[in-house]
């Protein structure tokens, strides 16, 4: 049995991991819900985000500037991918969509490997996030606390876009019933580009923010993507609140289980998914029907 401070510390790690998973999965789930495409390049885009941070930091020496420029880069990459490849696959079968996004993922990861090599790169913690913070009952790395706060703000902005703007209204309606959105005079295709780009920026941001915490390697996104697939199944396909809550649950399960025995943390995650699929196949916030 681990000590209480160790458990609480792991609970915080779970919150940090969970909030990142929430951000990654939000992008994945709104792309799936709106476009109907399961984006298998999502993990590669996470790694691309982390490498973007690695490169920009060497030029700008400012983490904030790095993130701003990095977002612009991810936005451009997202628009490029949607315009040149993804949009050709909206009317194709799901197998084709999976194959093409999987292919995009491989190309991106191998490009990264060709440029930077396969060795792990280090992205330094920003100057304002160094050291540890005394929380009274616990001393915890400052950057990870800031990470939780930053991701919380990003998720809040995403919430505001989805629930307080006309575009968000169209996206939410489109996830539910794309046919009816068309009957009401709205060309959903125009929204697809924006949604895809937002999803790519979200996952790229997660990669940039996570870079100082882990070793940056070309394959770093693979595990994250597998976990975020579990998250969107937990939360309900296409559900933004589901991705957020599912991400936090998954983060805590992985972290708390590894306080006892780290080799079981993923097992527990998949066991929970299996259990939920039996009890509530549509996921926590999912509705029956579509996808």
């Amino acid at each position: 049995m681990p000590s209480w401070p160790a458990l609480i510390s792991q609970a915080f790690n779970g919150l940090a991991l969970g909030s990142l998973l929430a951000l990654v999965s939000s992008g994945l789930t709104i792309i799936l819900g709106t476009l109907g495409v399961l984006n298998f390049a999502h993990g590669a885009l996470f790694a691309v985000g982390a490498y973007a941070a690695f490169v920009m930091l060497q030029y700008t020496h400012s983490f904030v500037l790095t993130v701003v420029v990095g977002c612009g880069f991810m936005l451009a990459l997202g628009v490029l991918l949607e315009r040149t490849i993804i949009r050709l696959f909206y009317n194709r079968p799901h197998e084709d969509q999976i194959l093409v996004t999987y292919g995009i993922g491989i190309v991106l990861v191998e490009c990264v490997r060709a440029i930077f090599g396969g060795n792990a790169q280090r992205v330094p913690t920003p100057s304002w996030g160094q050291g540890a913070t005394q929380l009274g009952f616990l001393i915890y790395p400052t950057y990870r606390l800031q990470l939780i706060a930053i991701v919380a703000m990003l998720l809040l902005s995403l919430y505001l876009v989805l629930y307080r703007t006309s575009m968000g209204l169209v996206v939410r309606a489109g996830i539910e019933n794309p046919g009816m959105v068309g009957i009401l005079g709205i060309n959903l295709r125009r929204t697809f580009l924006l949604v895809f780009a937002i999803g790519v920026v979200a996952v790229g941001l997660a990669g940039m923010l996570y870079a100082p915490v882990v070793a940056v390697t070309p394959d770093m996104g693979a595990n994250f993507m597998a976990q975020s697939f579990v998250v969107i199944v937990l939360g309900g396909l296409g559900s933004f609140p589901g991705a957020v809550i599912g991400g936090l649950i998954a983060g805590e399960i992985i972290s708390l289980t590894s306080a006892f025995n780290s080799s079981y943390s993923e097992v527990m995650l998949y066991a929970l998914m299996a259990l939920l699929l039996v009890l509530r196949p549509q996921g926590l916030f999912g509705s029956e029907g579509r996808v």
Binding site: E176, M180, G182, I183, L184, I186
Partner: protein
């Protein structure tokens, strides 16, 4: 004796010998329908006669294999539903298709988004006070009658030139049907152009000017409701109506 004016006069909507397939099965055979401005037309027929398919073809949800559909004389067959909606055609589907995760007001807001002459919420609420009471409720919490009101309100807020009502009274309590029939009658009296598909023939005929009968994907009858009364055999044999 046809005058030149009669030949060149354009109907608001003209469905010209369309053939529509649903998957592999041929559903509509050379279906032709005309609807004049300000007219209410009822499509009657048994289940599977092709009534819903006709409405879905007009809306562009299904593209006819052959034939043409004209709005103000301009061909619209083959256009996507969003383009047809923006020309002023509005389907109120049988399943109502209310967005369950959106509030009543959000359902109205999204409907009004691309309509240049959208009505104000107040005008809609004056017509459907019940929707005003429930404007903050999620679509999935509405009763069947409220959902139908909202479905019709979404077409009205767009100020649609022609509204296609698919089974608007289906599965609703008699009292609610009575209210909705009143709404439909008022719309008809104001000169709103509509096509209504309905199993409840009495309700449909109470506000329709003209009737088309469909049987197995063919138009088998065209006339006024008085003409239909004069043809009880036809009504019984082809349309499944005990007149």
């Amino acid at each position: 004796m046809l005058t030149l004016e009669d030949c060149t006069r354009m109907s608001l909507l003209e469905v010209d010998r369309i053939n529509t397939l649903y998957g592999d099965s041929h559903v509509l055979f050379d279906v032709s329908i005309r609807v004049e401005e300000g007219e209410v037309v009822a499509l009657l027929g048994r289940n599977g006669a092709g009534k819903t398919t006709t409405l879905r073809s007009i809306m562009g949800v299904l593209a006819p294999q052959s034939g043409q559909i004209r709005l103000d004389g301009k061909p619209i067959a083959g256009l996507p539903p969003s383009a047809i909606a923006n020309l002023g055609v509005q389907l109120v589907p049988e399943e109502r298709a209310i967005f369950g995760g959106l509030t009543v007001e959000e359902n109205l807001r999204i409907a009004a988004l691309t309509a240049p002459n959208a009505w104000s919420f107040e005008r809609i609420y004056a017509m459907f006070p019940r929707l005003k009471e429930r404007r903050r409720s999620l679509g999935r919490t509405l009763s069947g009658g409220e959902q139908q009101m909202l479905a019709i309100a979404r077409a009205l807020i767009r100020d649609a030139r022609i509204i296609l009502l698919d089974e608007p009274f289906e599965g609703l309590a008699p009292l609610i049907v009575r209210d909705l029939v009143t709404v439909a009658r008022n719309l008809a009296a104001e000169g709103r152009t509509m096509i209504v598909v309905e199993q409840n023939v009495t309700a449909a005929l109470s506000f329709a000017h003209r009737v088309y009968g469909l049987n197995n994907g063919h138009v088998v009858f065209e006339g006024t409701s008085a003409d239909l009364d004069a043809n009880p055999d036809l009504a019984r044999d082809f349309l499944g109506i005990a007149a």
